[in-house]
């Protein structure tokens, strides 16, 4: 393999990893703080994709469509937390399972009602078309865009979690909610915010994905599987673990896809098999 080709595959792998990071980070964040497994996460990803593409066309403005759609998906999950999740904390986890599965049916059917059940191809805006030359090889502008989006989101999350009081509360709350409340902090408000952020990230991941795969009413279910694999490999409850796992998945998929194309579809399961075989609790999981 030439070094140019290697760099090209590496960049593709990273942009894939970034998409996986966007897709799974919201789920991981919500799970690590609220201990709710939000199985409707895949459906939120799908809503981010459909709503985003729709609003970009409606507004004829890429950035505006992007921002409005992800904010709306965030608000949806925040409302779900405020009116539904909140009644289930400390109860039987089976209820959360039922609730979030119920949400899948509602959200998925709603997509079909509004946009139909057929696949919808997505037209890239002009500035995302074409390629640039990187290290002597052509590289899709779209992938570059995704890469930079991931870097910005990652940096934003890092600053939020490490440099703000809200971030301290989230980190502390993941470990011990009772002590956080004993310090006079209303952690319920933080739960609502984290759900907003989780929905926001799901929407963003879905939006980015739409420009690769187009829109299909099945994308929610298939992405949920990806997300669950990544979160388990990263270690349940570990946000950082999920981020690292997402990048590893991207690398594995791109490189396995290059050498053993027929195995590409299994790449995430191969990674899961190896990681859980060595460390059953996942990369950074403690349980």
């Amino acid at each position: 393999m030439t070094s140019q080709l290697f760099v090209n595959i590496l960049l593709s792998a990273l942009s894939l990893g970034v998409i996986y990071f966007l897709l799974s980070s919201g789920f991981a964040l919500v799970f690590s703080l609220l201990r709710v497994s939000n199985f409707s996460h895949g459906s939120l990803i799908m809503w981010g994709a459909y709503l985003g593409v729709y609003l970009v066309e409606a507004f004829s403005n890429f950035t505006l469509g992007l921002v409005v759609s992800v904010v709306i998906v965030g608000f949806f999950l925040a409302l779900v937390e405020y009116f539904l999740f909140r009644r289930l904390y400390g109860g039987n986890p089976l209820f959360e399972l039922l609730l979030t599965f119920g949400l899948i049916f509602i959200l998925d059917e709603a997509v079909k009602l509004v946009w139909g059940a057929a696949l919808i191809p997505v037209n890239k805006p002009d500035f995302l078309k074409g390629t640039v030359m990187i290290y002597g090889e052509p590289f899709a502008v779209l992938r570059l865009y995704i890469l930079s989006l991931g870097v910005v989101v990652c940096a934003g999350l890092y600053l939020l979690l490490k440099k703000t009081k809200l971030g301290l509360i989230i980190t502390a709350g993941i470990e011990n909610k009772e002590m956080v409340r004993a310090l006079g902090i209303n952690i319920n408000k933080v739960f609502t915010f984290v759900c907003w952020l989780g929905g926001f990230l799901a929407g963003l991941g879905g939006f980015a994905l739409a420009y690769f795969t187009g829109l299909s009413p099945e994308m929610g279910a298939s992405q949920l599987l990806n997300v669950l694999v990544i979160v388990v490999v990263g270690g349940l409850g570990s946000f950082m673990g999920a981020a690292i796992a997402a990048v590893i998945m991207g690398l594995a998929e791109a490189f396995i896809g290059f050498y053993l194309p027929e195995m590409a579809i299994l790449s995430s399961f191969i990674v899961m098999f190896i990681v859980l075989g060595i460390k059953p609790s996942g990369l950074l999981g403690e349980v």
């Binding site: 009081k165 301290l168 509360i169 980190t171 502390a172 993941i174 470990e175 011990n176 009772e178 002590m179 956080v180 409340r181 004993a182 310090l183 006079g184 902090i185 209303n186 952690i187």
Partner: protein, 233 residues
């Protein structure tokens, strides 16, 4: 004057009747100690005052105002801080972040307050950038008490500060509490009778979720019959 009063407080946890009518008072500017064997309800009393295991009946008054119906996160704002039994220093936060998280008004710990804290626990100065999970048991206990001092609260509830500490750390905790006592009212849960009797003013002995007897600490020190009966000293 009493800063805190509890009248016939009952608390259930997961269906178990833990506090079966606790009545006690804590006098302003004094150190009141809760004694009693394991499982007698001392820690639950502290948690019930903080609203973490809410009282199902009875009254809790702080500075004459009823607080038993308030939500857990509202209670610290009245001027009550807690040092829980397990210390509960956040392990993924640095010592500095642990202290900052406790600040209720403003963004930083007031300079003067920080000096006061470092005066009581000088070693904390060198631990500022260390994460909670990398602290020793004694260091965690210092940080947990320091965190309760950040806001100049009038009432401190401190649950077993000497548990599992080496004798030299117990002694420095005793000196620290003696210093803190000059500025704040303290309710202390303690199993170590010698430690307790050396700094307390009043005592309450708990048994089976109730107060079995109470009085001035001098009286308890001289009453070996009560010590044997309730404390197994």
């Amino acid at each position: 004057m009493n800063i805190l009063e509890m009248y016939d407080v009952h608390t259930y946890i997961a269906g178990f009747h833990i506090l079966e009518g606790v009545t006690l008072t804590a006098e302003h500017s004094k150190l009141t100690i809760l004694l009693g064997r394991n499982g007698s309800g001392k820690t639950t009393t502290i948690k019930t005052i903080m609203g973490l295991t809410p009282a199902s009946s009875g009254e809790i008054l702080f500075q004459g105002k009823q607080i038993q119906r308030m939500r857990d996160f509202e209670i610290p704002w009245l001027g009550i801080a807690v040092v829980p039994e397990g210390r509960d220093v956040f392990s993924d936060l640095t010592v500095e972040e642990n202290l900052l998280l406790a600040v209720r008004k403003g963004k930083k710990i007031k300079k003067q307050r920080l000096d006061y804290i470092l005066d009581i626990f000088p070693p904390i100065k060198d631990l500022f950038k260390k994460k909670g999970k990398n602290l020793s048991g004694g260091e965690k206990q210092m940080v947990a008490v320091a965190r309760a001092l950040v806001n100049e609260d009038e009432l401190l509830l401190i649950d077993e500060p000497t548990k599992g500490l080496a004798p030299i750390m117990v002694e420095s905790m005793r000196l620290a509490l003696a210093e803190i006592k000059k500025e704040a009212t303290i309710i202390l849960v303690e199993q170590n009778f010698e430690f307790a009797s050396s700094i307390a003013d009043h005592f309450f002995i708990m048994e089976h979720g109730k107060v079995a007897c109470s009085g001035k600490i001098e009286d308890l020190v001289h009453d070996e019959a009560i010590q044997r009966r309730y404390l197994g000293v």
